[in-house]
């Protein structure tokens, strides 16, 4: 399987309507892993600080959008050491595979979002038995 057959393009632009942001917070691009099995694609994204109710996953027109809302955990403190910022997470992937959209499942556990994208029947690999003639 060619490496770039799956994810053809990834950028900030999307046709999916985004949840409107009312505050001018910083948005971060989460780190993601994508794993392909015979019957499904699995996407894992690190969304530390996002509670299960605050994650939004959409699949539309071959684009998978993930959005995680993460409110500020500290307010008005003076950091002695500041190595990362806290904000919402947003990322869009174009999935170049036929996906069975009705059966997409997503779960968020300990700040890791796992999305299971089952392949539609048409693209699943089929084994053809060769008969002896």
């Amino acid at each position: 399987m060619a490496k770039n057959a799956l994810v053809k393009r990834e950028d900030k632009r999307t046709e999916v309507a985004l949840p409107e942001r009312t505050r001018g917070a910083v948005t971060y691009t989460p780190r993601c892993d994508i794993f392909e099995k015979d019957d499904e694609l699995i996407l894992c994204a690190d969304l530390p600080g996002v509670e299960p109710g605050n994650a939004d996953v959409r699949f539309e027109n071959g684009e998978l959008m993930i959005y995680g809302r993460c409110a500020a955990r500290q307010q008005g403190v003076n950091y002695l050491n500041y190595e990362y910022g806290i904000g919402d997470y947003y990322r869009v992937f174009t999935i170049g595979e036929m996906i069975d959209t009705d059966n997409i499942a997503a779960e968020l556990k300990n700040g890791v979002l796992t999305v299971h994208l089952p392949k539609s029947e048409a693209v699943k690999p089929k084994k053809i038995t060769v008969k002896a003639g």
């Binding site: 892993d33 392909e36 500290q74 500041y82």
Partner: protein
């Protein structure tokens, strides 16, 4: 009168070498050097630290981990150690198309600005974020000095 000896190539090679070294350093700092971490600095996990009058707080983002995978100690009064392992998920047979999240063992030692009471340290882990609350030791707490008027 031209006083500098004209050495076109020696100088050029020197500059090229410098440039190459600069680039190597730049790429190493982005994590392309040899590690498995894609774009992290040498230190993992990244830690935010802040304080109020009585406590020092440390927070680290450790998505996918459990509190039981972590070891947290305070030694010597002001050395906070975070140790743990982030395990790679096992999905069975297949191919990785993208692997940006890092896995493996880590240890990080942070020197706190003040001494803390090691017995009273509390750690909380929620939604992939570790928060450590460390009460300052009595000697490190700020004291209000009352100014007497005569």
């Amino acid at each position: 009168m031209l006083m500098t000896p004209w050495q076109p190539y020696t100088d050029l090679w020197g500059k090229m070498g410098q440039f190459r070294e600069e680039m190597d350093r730049l790429f190493d700092s982005f994590g392309f050097g040899d590690g498995r971490w894609p774009s992290l600095a040498a230190a993992y996990p990244t830690v935010n630290l802040w304080e109020d009058g009585d406590h020092v707080y440390a927070e680290a983002e450790l998505p996918g981990m459990e509190l039981s995978d972590l070891e947290i100690y305070v030694t010597g009064g002001n050395q906070l150690t975070l140790k743990g392992e982030r395990k790679e998920p096992a999905f069975g047979k297949g191919v990785w198309h993208r692997q940006e999240r890092g896995f493996g063992m880590f240890t990080r030692v942070i020197t706190l600005p003040v001494d803390v009471d090691a017995d009273q340290v509390e750690a909380r882990f929620a939604h992939g974020v570790l928060t450590i609350t460390m009460p300052k030791s009595e000697t490190a707490k700020p004291r209000k000095i009352t100014v007497k008027t005569e």
